[in-house]
Amino acid sequence: MTRIFAFDERLIPLDDWVQNGVDWLVTNYRELFQVIKVPVEMTLEGLEWFFAILPPSLVMLLFALLAWRYAGRMVTLFTTLTLLLIGFLGLWDETMTTLAMVICSVLFCAVAGIPLGIAAGRSDRFQMLLRPFLDAMQTTPAFVYLIPVVMLFSIGTVSGVLATIVFALPPIIRLTSLGIRQVHPELVEAAVAFGATPWQVLRKVQFPLALPSVMAGLNQTIMMALSMVVIASLIGAGGLGGPVVQGLNTLEIGLATIGGLSIVLLAMVLDRITQGFGKR
């Protein structure tokens, strides 16, 4: 009896099960996963093409306008200087790739996350069901799920984006749900009293009032997506993670530094601009 608690023997071979399970998925369903990849791939390619074809000056103008509209004068100045610096550091193309990746993953996060967040906000049961998955998505070390991602989707930028989506999805779900829950029950009651259908309650009352919280979620999702850039580079994704990983491999501290600096500055720019979204 005491033998069991000596723990010198592996009684639950979970690692084998997972190994076999993923192997089985790969041999039987790899084609299916390649199909799942398609919409992400197309969106990403479109975005990459867009940022590649646009002259840097136009991109800078676009960002300056966004900053001006949503975040004010100081952020506009900061944005312009940041993009100039990145250009002078010789990382413009990498930055545009990263930008395309971030926008692509955030787009998919929003499309999936906002409806899931609304559902979780309106149903306690669904919220309870969803929570462990969100916890797992946020805390599982990215390296763990990079392996199955690579096995199922092969390496490259698209796989990087897929891994990023998994990692960056939880905040927008959580904050959308929170936003819906924070709407005063009296307002919902008033809407119902005036003959609102459940859909009207959502569209006319709950969602508009949850919008600042949804925007905060979007902002967090963007930040999390940026933090995955380096990790995604490990599975062959391009962008600003490239110089960092290359610097790591060849001990070129200078190269790693300019890559890292660009990521931080880009993150700050995106953060300041998107924080302004919710306030409008």
Binding site: A191, V192, A193, G195, A196, L209
Partner: protein, 407 residues
Amino acid sequence: MSEKIKVENIYKIFGQQPKKALQMLQDGLDKQTIHQRTGLTVGVQDASFSINAGEIFVVMGLSGSGKSTMVRMLNRLIAPTSGHIYVDGQDVATMGDADLLALRRQKMSMVFQSFALMPHLSVLDNAAFGLEMAGVDKKTRHERAMQALEQVGLEGYHNSRPKQLSGGMQQRVGLARGLTVNPEVLLMDEAFSALDPLIRTEMQDELLKLQSRAQRTIVFISHDLDEAMRIGDRIAIMEGGRVVQVGTPEEILQNPADDYVRAFFRGVDPTNILTAGDIARDSQVTLIRHQGEGPRAALQRLIRHDREYGYVLDADRRLKGIVSADSLKALIDAGGKDLSPAFLEEFGSVQACDSMQDILPELTTRPWPVPVLSADGKYLGVISKNQFLRTLQRNHVEEPALEAVGS
């Protein structure tokens, strides 16, 4: 008066498996026992009453008496556990979703204690909210919302946000939102309770003014006795989920159904609550029509009824003046034909809505019973000093009894 809403044996039990508590209630157990044994809360039990079209019906009770639950069952924001609620003969408790939406959008609207205005919408869009839900186009609903805002005295504020307005003004927006859909029934859940006393009185007056223009059926929830007395045509008193008494303010005041109701009214000064209209009597004074009747005929009638004074009315029952036996005799001696030279100067009159306290000065300075007029100037009756004192006495019967026990 036709019956607008009829509530029949309504029960509301909160919690899982409410039928269990329903059975226990039928077995004669009380709320507390049921709550201890099952964890179920009895919100409303066996409520039955009816509300007439065009009246202000006040549901009064302390917090926890089930009055807010009751009003929410009228438009099924809370579904009753059992019983029926008929609005124009349609049972709200069992109607389908489409009928329920139609009821809420067209027939019944609601004003809330916390105002419950949409902070993201302008005052105009708030007022138009009900019509927007009903799918009315923007132009029409804005026009109607503007009219409603005008009715409540908020013209010029349509572009503001609710949060920019004071509490009283916010509730005016709430009222406008209720009025925009032009409902037959207006549910008001402690609508003025969050306002400070001065503004509250102002809003009550506003409501009465609106009511005099368009007769709606208003169900008004309140915990404030003064408010109930002031605006209620009839009052239902709730206690512990039960309706303990329904009646006009005077009926309840003069004849409380039980100790709970009596306790409500203890400390209430009847001179504040009873109005001149309540205690005016029509029977005891001779009326003299103006046309055709000369001073001789008038005097004859006064003598026959053994009265000192006569009240002269025109064909519309408007008070023209008061004559006395002496002034009539003087007129006859002078050979006059028309009554008006015999009118006593400054006869003094009071309004039906004046409280007993208001009419006291008038009553003490005149030797004759003071005439009571309705809001549109029609003669309703008179109040004599005797009548006044008798009313006071009747309302104080219990006080000496208590003192006797004390001594």
